[in-house]
């Protein structure tokens, strides 16, 4: 019987409009009393939760495509994304998490087979500046970070971030002492440098000097175990990617780079040694090794061979064994 007296549920566009009104209120009204404010925030939290449920469903129901499309259309038509991002620091934790999931989901919603999120972000690229700035604020870093990673799924947005002044800041964010935030920043950094192949190759070619200088000194020569381990792994991934082959050739022809990698091979951490090996092997495999690199390899031949004979994986890895065998063979045969 109870159901009969329920008011008609709001349509998705109505819900979006109501959320927008509340967000504007939260954004503007700084002078209202705390109690009133709490109440408004609770209402807003509820609306945001309802939006999330439309997009994701809940434990009892699946999302309905038509409702999702209506919601998406209204959301971007009214600039709600900007409001939501700007107001995020004022929301409570649960609403922040819901908002983050909403933003993630909206990036994939197609309306009449168009990704309107991508079109919206194209003309609102400055939102990326706000999101990246989140890494400076512990309270919102994880939420903004996660939104940011969703936005750079769009190639043009990733390009914007890569070419912005922000790229340089990531080298510091990655080394923040709080593990959860630092690893979030690293996840974003990695996504930027691996997702859109040709964009990445283009960026690395144009920014080779400063980027790898920073990569070497700030990440590979860091004091932080996790930074070194992640950075050496990512370096391998970048250099081994076919689309980055000219960048790889440039990297493995430089003596300074070789020395940094050889130092990593000597670390007490086996995981770092293994990651470093996957980059080191490229210096050896390079058929046009510059004489200074050849020289260093010959000088350290016996030490290198000893190191490799001890370097073993916990479980059998055929590829690793083959690579190691080849590296050993080339080093042995050097004149």
């Amino acid at each position: 019987m109870k159901g009969l007296f329920k008011s008609k549920p709001r349509t998705p566009p109505e819900l979006v409009r109501l959320t927008r009104e509340h967000l504007i209120n939260v954004d503007l009204n700084t002078s209202i009393s705390d109690a009133k404010r709490e109440e408004k925030l609770a209402e807003l939290g509820k609306l945001i939760r309802d939006l999330k449920i439309i997009l994701y469903g809940n434990s009892e129901s699946e999302p309905i495509p038509d409702a999702c499309a209506q919601l998406t259309q209204e959301f971007f038509k009214g600039n709600t994304l900007r409001l939501l991002i700007v107001c995020l620091p004022k929301l409570n934790l649960e609403a922040r998490k819901d908002a983050t999931q909403i933003v993630a989901n909206l990036q994939r919603q197609q309306v009449q087979s168009r990704l309107i999120a991508s079109e919206y972000l194209e003309s609102n690229k400055d939102l990326m500046d706000i999101l990246i700035g989140g890494y400076d604020n512990m309270d919102i870093a994880l939420h903004y970070g996660s939104m940011l990673r969703e936005c750079i799924r769009h190639q043009s947005i990733a390009r914007y971030v890569l070419e912005s002044q922000h790229m340089n800041k990531f080298f510091d964010y990655i080394q923040l002492p709080n593990f959860d935030i630092a690893s979030d920043a690293f996840a974003t950094f990695k996504e930027l440098l691996t997702r859109h192949k040709s964009t990445v190759a283009d960026f690395l070619t144009k920014n080779y000097d400063w980027f790898f200088a920073a990569y070497n000194t700030k990440l590979l020569e860091s004091d932080n175990y996790i930074t070194i381990r992640q950075a050496s792994k990512l370096l391998g991934d970048i250099l081994l990617d076919r689309s980055n082959s000219s960048i790889m050739l440039r990297y493995v022809s430089t003596l300074d780079n070789l020395m940094i990698l050889m130092n990593l091979l000597r670390k007490s951490s086996k995981n770092i040694q293994i990651e470093a090996f996957h980059v080191f092997k490229l210096f050896v495999a390079n058929e046009n090794r510059p004489p200074e690199i050849e020289n260093i390899l010959i000088k350290n031949r016996s030490k290198l061979l000893r190191l490799f004979s001890d370097l073993k994986l916990d479980k059998d890895d055929e590829q690793f064994q083959t690579d190691k065998g080849q590296v050993i063979k080339v080093i042995e045969e050097m004149e």
Binding site: E38, Y56, G57, N58, S59, E60, E62, P63, N92, L93, E94, K97, Q101, A104, N105, Q107, R108, L142, E150, P177, N178, F179, D180, S183, D184, A187, N224, Y225, I226, R229, Q230, S269, K270, N271, D314
Partner: protein, 380 residues
């Protein structure tokens, strides 16, 4: 923190203060006692010196985590974004040499499964079970609402402190249903602890969802009622087979006469093999069994008071916290389950090999620890 109901807001502001207070500097923490040890992590009781506050610090050896750094990062994030009075959250986490330190609240009494082991081998009284389960269920309602499946609900992960607070811990294996912006239809990886695992996780035909936690919750209810989980004394192979082939376990033995009808009904509703026929956490919370339950402060404190009489030889009360070790062992075990199962795929010969390992362990007779640990040893 004291208030249980209606204390959410109060709790939140308390937490956000705490979150700011804890530093991420090694020298601010003094590790005082090892309270649990697993293959890749050790948990310490510690003092946060600037506040002289007792905390638990989990030191995870990253060097032992070969390729799954991303899982660890996800877990750290989950734990730092959790905010519910019945869930263990992380105050902060940071890297010290090749260890990850995760700073968490210290739960003085350890886990329910440990308490049963040292003093309540036949299980708890119904009012106590009811309190513990209700608090745990609230945690699940929250987690499911957030899109998380816990995947390792069991008495060993339900922790108590001396004020009567009940918290569900360990997100080592939790899966995120809303990952990557899409609702995942279902997950399909093999995680958890065998005795508590839902049939749909074991048979891997259709994947699983939130309902997998409801099954484990039902098994946990039986565990609290009997002092151990069904089949927990059996070798791994039999646990897997029985979960898949037998009728679901329940409270239907003679010794179960002491339990109320509504308790029995609640358990039966969780332990239905078809996950779609199990109630959601939210719906289960409305079950008559949970109506009019006493506050956990009262029941749990009564339980803890009873401990003193029951434990004869308690020269080292900290020993009780050794139970936390299994938390670590299980976090470690995730990988091994993945590996083991993808290789085995229920190849009976392999399973037999593993169950013979168990027997071997027993013959050696050096295993004084609990069943769960025994199960885990098979994988090492």
């Amino acid at each position: 923190m004291r208030k249980r109901e209606g204390g959410r807001r109060e709790n939140r502001s308390w937490r956000s203060v705490v979150k700011m207070i804890f530093s991420v500097k090694e020298e601010d923490y003094k590790l005082t006692k090892e309270i649990g040890k697993g293959a890749s992590a050790t948990v310490y009781k510690a003092i946060y010196l600037p506040l002289e506050k007792v905390v638990a610090v989990k030191c995870l050896d990253l060097e032992r985590c070969n390729s799954n750094l991303e899982d660890i990062q996800r877990e750290a994030q989950t734990m730092s974004l959790i905010d519910h009075p019945n869930l263990i959250s992380a105050y902060c986490s940071f890297v010290v040499k090749h260890y990850l330190w995760v700073v968490m609240p210290f739960m003085t009494e350890g886990s329910c499964s440990h308490l049963m082991q040292i003093a309540y081998t036949e299980g708890f009284e119904e009012p106590i079970i009811c309190s513990i389960l209700k608090e745990t269920l609230k945690a699940l309602v929250y987690l499911h609402g957030e899109g998380h499946i816990h995947l390792d609900v069991k008495a060993g992960n339900i922790l108590l402190d001396n004020s009567g607070t009940v918290k569900l811990g360990d997100f080592g294996v939790s899966a995120f249903m809303f990952d990557h912006g899409d609702r995942q239809r279902s997950r399909n990886s093999f995680v958890g602890t065998p005795c508590w695992m839902a049939p749909e996780i074991l048979n891997r035909v259709n994947g699983y969802d939130f309902k997998a936690d409801i099954w484990s919750f039902g098994i946990t209810a039986l565990e609290l009622a009997h002092g151990h989980a069904p089949f927990s004394k059996e070798p791994l192979m039999k646990v897997l087979m029985r979960t898949l082939e037998n009728a679901p376990p329940g409270l239907d033995y003679d010794r179960d006469k002491r339990f109320s009808k509504s308790f029995k009904h609640m358990v039966t509703s969780c332990l239905v093999k078809d996950p779609t026929k199990r109630p959601t956490a939210q719906k289960l919370l409305k079950h008559s069994f949970f109506k009019g339950e006493k506050h956990p402060e009262i029941t749990v404190k009564k339980l803890l008071a009873g401990l003193v009489d029951r434990i004869q030889d308690d020269d080292d009360s900290q020993l009780s916290l050794r139970r936390m070790a299994s938390i670590e062992l299980e976090a470690l075990s995730k990988n091994e389950y993945d590996q083991g199962i993808s290789v085995w795929n229920f190849n009976v010969e392999d399973l037999n090999n593993h169950s013979s390992l168990v027997i071997h362990e027993d013959q050696e007779g050096h295993d004084e620890s609990i069943e769960e640990d025994r199960n885990l040893k098979n994988w090492q």
